[in-house]
């Protein structure tokens, strides 16, 4: 056992001396996590990275409703989300969108208010002709679909409220008129009052009760998904790096030299595997520590976290050993390992949430330690403890054991286990 430990620690020391490898194993996932933090708004306090969306508001209506909409974009409520600029020239506004200077232009045409609310005293004029509906134009920048979508949602919300007021006013007018109870002029006044209180109109006939499971237990930090996602992806690189060292020792002749000493081949191989395991644990441990220190990330239940790390590294080490057993040269291990790192990264959810993938890919992702590891880390971030990690930890341990078994068989066939 001591020999195994010594060989393992020797490999770990070697890893810490390889500055290039360290940069790749530690700095790359850290920088990518920072990028993810920007995208998800983790560093700006939002639920997405969207803020200060540049929008151009062209209010040609210059009437009641147009003014309300224009003011809505400058309201305190939207101050962090929107950065509106007023313009009076629709063509200039469209040009700015085409030049990617803003996310969208909201063009409120002349007569918009009048198309919704007839001018006072005109609705019951026998000569009154209902105006053609006038549409607000959202001129969207196609390369900023999310921001443009937010702008459209705000306009939709506003129009929905306007429509609500209009429906209410017209229903009252028509229902009372059909009962012959009111003077038409009075009814128009009442209806107008509803239109004019558009901002206050709120439907309360149905109440929406919201709940977020797990949110009560612990506030979910999106980085608690992103940071382990990146760490697990680069863990695959680390285990193939370790595997490369086994084949490198063989090709450089240091492995036969070791076998001259009173150390068996299985002890040497076991020590090398232990070294890979140590490297993986060190890498994940450092990344977790760094994200706790620099981003204040809470990783959840400590015993669960420690066991999950060990299980994830064990599962990944199994893959590292299999790659090594299937390769002939250190270069091959490097190539296959890098490919596996990227494939497992995308399949395991390190780049995008697995929910966005087709069902078949979600099922296939279960062969990766990344998917199980991320499942466990997300459970922890949602307040889960060790008992709720039984499934991912179990799956990772089984994965590691099966892959080790296959790797040992292959090593045996290649004679690497014989003195």
């Amino acid at each position: 056992m001591l020999k195994l430990l010594l060989i393992g620690l020797k490999d770990l020391r070697l890893m810490f001396r390889d500055r290039a490898a360290l940069t790749f194993m530690l700095l790359a996932p850290f920088l990518l996590t920072v990028g993810m933090g920007f995208v998800t708004g983790r560093f700006s306090g939002g639920s997405s990275g969207l803020s200060d969306i540049p929008v151009i508001v062209v209010n040609l209506d210059n009437d009641q409703l147009g003014d309300v909409l224009a003011e809505a974009f400058s309201s305190q409520e939207l101050a962090d989300l929107m950065e509106p600029t007023a313009s009076s020239d629709p063509e200039a506004a469209r040009r700015l969108i085409d030049e990617d200077q803003a996310a969208a232009a909201v063009i409120i045409p002349e007569g918009f208010t009048r198309s919704v609310i007839p001018a006072a005293g005109t609705a019951f004029d026998p000569n009154y002709v209902e105006p053609e509906p006038v549409q607000i134009e959202v001129y969207a920048n196609p390369s900023r679909p999310t921001s443009a979508g937010v702008v459209k949602a705000i306009v939709d919300e506003f129009v929905s409220r306007v429509e609500e007021g209009r429906t209410s006013g017209m229903t009252s007018m028509l229902a009372l008129a059909s009962s012959g109870l009111l003077d038409p002029q009075d009814m128009e006044g009442e209806a107008r009052q509803l239109f004019e209180n558009v901002e206050q109109s709120e439907s309360t006939a149905i109440t929406l009760k919201k709940s977020q499971e797990g949110a009560q237990a612990v506030e979910f930090d999106i980085l608690a998904y992103m940071a382990p996602g990146m760490a697990l992806m680069f863990l695959m690189y680390t285990v193939s790096y370790g595997g490369r060292s086994i084949l490198a020792e063989r090709s450089q002749g240091t492995l036969p030299r070791l076998l001259v000493s009173p150390t068996s081949a299985s002890q040497v191989l076991g020590g090398k595997v232990l070294g890979i395991f140590f490297m993986g644990v060190a890498q994940i441990g450092i990344l977790i520590l760094a994200s706790s220190v620099f981003f204040g990330l809470e990783w959840g239940d400590t015993p669960g976290l420690l066991l999950l790390i060990l299980a994830a590294v064990f599962g990944a080490t199994g893959w590292g050993m299999l790659i090594t057993a299937l390769s002939r040269t250190p270069g091959q291990v490097g190539s296959i390992g890098s490919a596996m790192m990227l494939i497992f990264g995308i399949l395991g959810g390190s780049f995008i949430n697995l929910d966005q993938m087709p069902a078949a890919i979600r099922t296939f992702s279960k062969i990766t330690p990344n998917a199980w590891g991320l499942d466990g880390f997300t459970t922890l971030a949602l307040g889960g403890t060790l008992p709720s990690l039984v499934e991912p930890i179990g799956a990772l341990l089984i994965m590691g054991a099966v892959l080790f078994g296959i790797a040992v068989l292959l090593f045996n066939r290649q004679g690497m286990m014989q003195n």
């Binding site: 940069t23 949110a215 091959q332 890098s338």
Partner: protein, 398 residues
């Protein structure tokens, strides 16, 4: 020229010595593009966010709510049982579940006791979008009832109802009126896609196609540094000193070969975008060539400069992948740049990936042509000049 071709051919042979290189050259870029685009090569699938709906009321009102959700541009409702919804939610396969409990009918809306429930995964943007869509749907359903109730109140204020039945009849006729007014309401918002109307259909997968192209082409171009380090370590660069070949010939030959392979790789990925994803890559072929060439030159120049700072091949391999991934992410190749804070959006203008991505999006999404991509191409060529100059100045055989 013959020497340059010889160096180029040598580099191609070296690069493709192992069949694994094909994995990085074409297989993985296509797999990543396919998966990150949602695995939807036809683009015909419904892009809306899936929303599980549990309709335990099964009344006209609950069906109206579901109908409103079906009309939503944001969510795609799927009616399931409570057990199925809860199971999917617990497994985090559903972002949100919308429950319409039994008892949701006109009566409950009239007496204000109607309450529906939304279960959301915490800190999930899809769940937030679903919430907005549900609020809009229940607002629309509520508003007709609210309008009818308002009419009842107006009537009550002017003349009391003779009986409860009369009141209910007035309410029902008002409700019918409100619903028909609502249905007849004209569309008051129109959305126009900038510049590309009638010419280019907006397709969010264009972002993925362009982003992955840049990622997978830039990484091997940054890897020119590894090729320099390899030759330096092996001593083959020193051997060149004994031949009548200048430093410029060697550098030009190496870079020419890598840029040529990058252009071939780009061509294959663009072809995949056109054939499999039906993207508009081929709309302005010359402008596309200009932006691809400028991007490849900028990346190759960066790799050349890196090669003069890095000592070993191992270092170069790791750093080129790291720089490639980080530059791609921060340049908007993985996630739209609009999602980054404004300060970061400005800061990443120092990266060639940002300009390459902008140039490609000008062509793919903004319907631009040669004049529109010239600024981006200019900046990329500027990068190329600066980095080639630094690389050539610092280049050493030993």
């Amino acid at each position: 020229m013959k020497k340059i071709f010889a160096i180029t051919w040598k580099d191609i042979l070296l690069r493709f010595t192992s069949a694994w290189e094909l994995l990085f050259f074409i297989v993985l870029p296509i797999v990543f593009t396919f998966l990150l685009a949602g695995g939807t090569p036809s683009g015909d699938e419904d892009p809306r966010i899936s929303l599980l709906v549990v309709d335990e009321a099964n009344t006209a009102i609950s069906r109206q709510i579901v109908g409103e959700l079906e009309n939503s541009t944001a969510v795609l409702p799927e009616v399931v049982t409570r057990a199925e919804a809860q199971s999917q939610f617990d497994d985090r396969r559903a972002d949100a579940v919308f429950f319409i409990p039994s008892g949701i009918d006109i009566g409950s809306l009239q007496n204000g006791s109607a309450e529906v429930e939304l279960l959301q995964q915490p800190n999930n943007i899809n769940a937030t979008v679903a919430e907005r869509a549900i609020l809009t749907a229940i607002r629309r359903v509520s508003s007709s009832v609210a309008a009818a109730q308002n009419a009842v109140e107006q009537r009550q204020a002017r003349q009391a109802f003779g009986s409860e039945a009369e009141r209910q009849a007035f309410f029902e006729s008002s409700l019918e009126m409100a619903q028909s007014i609502q249905e007849a309401a004209p569309e008051r918002v129109t959305v126009v896609e900038g510049l590309v109307e009638d010419e280019v259909d907006y397709d969010p997968r264009a972002n993925t196609s362009a982003g992955q192209l840049i990622t997978w082409v830039f990484i091997p171009l940054f890897g020119i540094s590894a090729s320099f380090a390899y030759e330096r370590q092996k001593g083959t660069l020193q051997r060149l000193l004994t031949t009548p070949s200048s430093k410029a010939t060697f550098l030009f030959g190496t870079i020419f070969g890598q840029v040529l392979m990058a252009l071939l790789q780009m061509l294959l990925l663009v072809s995949f975008g056109i054939i499999a994803m039906k993207l508009n890559w081929g709309r302005e072929p010359f402008a596309l060539f200009v932006v691809l060439l400028a991007s490849a030159l900028a990346a190759a120049a960066f790799g050349t400069t890196m090669g003069t700072f890095i000592k070993t091949e191992g270092q170069a391999n790791g750093l080129s992948v790291m720089f490639g991934m980080v530059f791609a992410m921060m340049g908007g190749c993985w996630y739209p740049l609009e999602l980054f804070p404004p300060a970061v959006q400005n800061a990443v203008r120092v990266l060639p990936t940002t300009w390459a991505m902008q140039g490609m999006l000008d062509l793919l999404l903004r319907g631009g042509g040669l004049p529109e991509i010239l600024p981006e191409a200019g900046v990329l060529l500027g990068f190329a000049v600066i980095f080639f100059s630094v690389g050539a100045w610092r280049f050493r055989y030993e």
